[in-house]
Amino acid sequence: MKATGHLILGVSVVTCAAMLPGCRPGPAGQPDQADAADPVLVYCSVDEPFARRVFAEFERRSGIRVQPLLDTEAGKTTGLVNRIRREAARPRADAFWSSEIFNTILLAREGLLEAYVPGTAADIPHAYKDAQGLWTAIGLRGRVIVFDAARTRREEVPSAWSGLAEEKWRGRVALANPQFGTTRGHVASWFALWGPERAAQFLRDLYDHEAIIADGNSAVVRQVIAGRADLGMTDTDDVWLARRQHPSLDLVYADQGDGGTLWIPNTVALIKGAPHPAEARRLIDFLVSADGEELLARSDSGNVPVRPDLRARLGMELPAAGSASYEQIADHMTEAISVAREILLR
């Protein structure tokens, strides 16, 4: 069995040799010295096929290689956010392209983002830019009520979120786990708009009326498709994607209680201590540009541009937005999640 011995020895040597290129630690607490040929590393929670197309376009235009670390439906944006936190002493990522805004605001407050005001964002309204330049927002997704028009008539669907807690929908409403994803921000928005008492009462009503807690927004849509729920709280893009297979799905832009819908934008930010800041800035310039936002609007997600002129050019409408600012909603995040956990996940 000499051959077997040789084989094992060979495998061990090759394994060790293959690991050697990885042994290039930087000084403790500092980022590694970046190589000019290194790709710019983006933590990205935007849908993978679309992100790929955008990065390919950027690479074609700039000649800078992009290496995305995409989230999974299991991990969602929060998974990447926690990774940025974990790596704070030695950041690996250069930029963060999030499919939502609230986690980005929290990262900014924790001092994990670097200020950068992209020149290409000059035409973006101020509501969608951080005052210190820590993030820039583009492409909006709405929080909506999804239903199957083959089973539920549009007139029956509540026009406001508060209607979901009515007795007639007992056991027929699905929402994603409120600790994660955009549902987290949505719950916080009720605390910001309605005050903690009314928001908590609404959550209690949902619990008492046996609301179904699903694994994520796309799982909410699946609950509606399967007929386990009649109404679901989800994002517009999840409905657009599901409609490709289930055309009878429809949605309602539900009223937050102030006459508007909660619209959640994508956000782009530079990571503090990024190993490749110059390349990352060029990527951010591209992502938040009108061209980048147009790509996002034309994608399967159908994000609504924040730029009014672009909306007009693409013929997209933005139903009225709610009155609470993103910063106000982020202020209520911790309290809202804690209360939602106690009530809905007890």
């Binding site: 990885g22 849908d47 994660f180």
Partner: protein, 500 residues
């Protein structure tokens, strides 16, 4: 000389990987929890919801294990009855196949097959059926082995003075009790720790919730503490299965699987086996709009497919070698091998969190492929341990003793007898571990690397995005390679059975 150096390297290398993949990450995660001093986000108690999810997990896993046992019986009977022949090798190949397939892919396949037949099963039923159709080979192999070793002889003796059913109930069943319980225990453990199938069936179980906790909370105490009920359950089940197995081994002195007293009808075994392997493929193929979809898949995800396969094969190989090395350790150090078994039953989310916490300040591991390989090793080295123990106890003890009496060193006995004579078992174990690595998601998602897009994650993303053709082609592609490897193995095994 080379054999001796290779043996030493192999054993010490195994010990090194054991420390890197298991001891250090868990020490780091416990240390971090103590240093943080923080409590879990929702306190130290367990909520009604968490207990209810644990209950749901058991409610799904128990019938899946029962159904798996039932499905396995015809194949087990045929496996335990026949001589070692080309047809028998093919049957073994059929048994190995489902274990090589990603379990979520089986769920996708069955869902589409049933839909094609005009029936949409409830999610729970689909989950139970998918688990059973994934894990039936475990009881088939264990019970088949037991049937050949003891059950059949007891049954034949009892047949002399009683009817078939009475003989089976009074003699064969008690002789097979240990095998049945051990098989049920292993299936329960695998079902309870599985994330893929419930997720693919739109169900929430404890493992799905745990991954959400691991991903969404920075402090590792959240996932560590929340893992306790699942880990306790899994360890109990694993210990039960282990005790059953030991009891059987002590009671049975016959280990020759080539006994052939009377031919058992093979066709039910073939029908059941083929249906369970081919069914999901038919379901997926019936939803394939055009073979050109494979070209699109190759163009879009060629790199990811290559990287996933390479990492799965590498991870599976290192996992098997580590487990095999652990099985050669001395009596005291066997505790390490038992630890590998126990850790293999830990929820993947906890394991991934431990690795991420342990290696975040160690760039050579954290930033590169070794962290993914360590994740695979921790999760699947138990297969190597079992394979190692199987090669040790596979009826060649006498040969080993003779070799030692004639002056052979432990390294020569190891290479020539354990590896040399049982390499098909080890290759099977490698393929099975590789197949599981390919579909591993909870641990890999915690330590994902931008350089290596993993198919297991992309497939789930496609599922969530309702990209039907991608789900179908990716599922078929994920099965094509393990099935080809299994067929190749069967070909090698069946070529000249007389030699083994």
């Amino acid at each position: 000389m080379i054999a001796r150096i290779g043996y030493a390297l192999f054993r010490w290398g195994g010990a090194g990987v054991f420390v890197l993949a298991l001891l250090y990450p868990f020490a780091a995660v416990v240390w971090t929890c103590l240093a943080d001093g923080t409590a879990p986000a929702d306190g130290w108690g367990f909520t009604e919801r968490q207990l209810s999810l644990a209950g749901t997990t058991l409610k799904l896993a128990l019938p899946a294990a029962g159904l798996g046992l039932l499905l396995a019986l015809p194949v087990a009977g045929a496996l335990g009855a026949g001589r070692r022949s080309g047809r028998q090798c093919l049957l073994w190949g059929l048994v190995v196949c489902p274990l090589l397939l990603p379990p979520n892919v089986l769920a996708f396949g069955w869902a589409r097959l049933f839909a094609g037949l005009g029936w949409t099963p409830p999610d729970e039923l689909l989950c139970i059926w998918s688990w059973a159709s994934w894990l039936w080979p475990v009881p088939a192999a264990l019970v088949g082995t037991g049937w050949a070793a003891a059950g059949r002889a007891a049954y034949e003796s009892a047949l002399l003075d009683s009817s078939r059913w009475r003989a089976f109930a009074a003699a064969a069943l008690p002789a097979l009790g240990g095998h049945l319980l051990a098989a049920a225990g292993i299936m329960l453990v695998l079902c309870c720790a599985d994330y893929n199938v419930p997720h693919a069936c739109n169900l929430q179980v404890y493992a799905t919730e745990l991954l959400a906790w691991a991903t969404n909370y920075s402090a590792p105490v959240n996932v560590l503490w929340r893992s306790v009920p699942l880990v306790a359950l899994l360890v109990l089940l694993a210990l039960g299965a282990w005790a059953c197995w030991r009891r059987w081994r002590a009671a049975s002195s016959v280990t020759d699987m080539s006994l052939s007293l009377r031919e058992v009808r093979g066709w039910p075994a073939w029908c059941v086996g083929l249906l369970l392997v081919v069914g999901p493929q038919i379901g997926l193929l019936s939803h394939l709009e055009s073979p050109a979809a494979f070209a699109v898949l190759g163009r879009t995800y060629g790199l990811e497919i290559t990287a996933s396969l390479g990492l799965a094969l590498a991870g599976g190989l290192v996992a098997i070698l580590t487990g095999l090395a652990a099985s050669t350790w001395s009596r005291l150090a066997r505790l390490g091998a038992v630890l590998l078994l126990v850790v293999g039953f830990l929820p993947g989310a906890l394991f991934g969190k431990a690795l991420a916490t342990g290696y975040v300040h160690c760039p050579p591991v954290y930033d590169h492929w070794p962290i993914l390989v360590l994740a695979y090793v921790g999760r699947f080295a138990w297969i190597g341990v079992l394979a190692g123990w199987l090669t040790r106890d596979a009826g060649t003890a006498e040969l080993e003793r003779t070799a030692r009496l004639e002056g052979a060193g432990p390294e020569q006995v190891f290479w020539r007898v354990r590896v040399g004579l049982h390499w098909p078992v080890l290759v099977c174990a490698w393929l099975a571990a590789g197949g599981l690595c390919l579909s591993e998601l909870p641990a890999a998602s915690q330590v994902a690397l931008p350089q290596y897009g993993l198919l297991s994650m992309i497939l789930m993303e496609k599922f969530h995005r309702f990209e039907e053709q991608m789900v179908v082609t990716m599922s078929l592609a994920l099965q094509l390679l393990p099935l080809s490897a299994a067929l190749l193995l069967v070909g090698i095994l069946g070529r000249d059975p007389g030699k083994r």
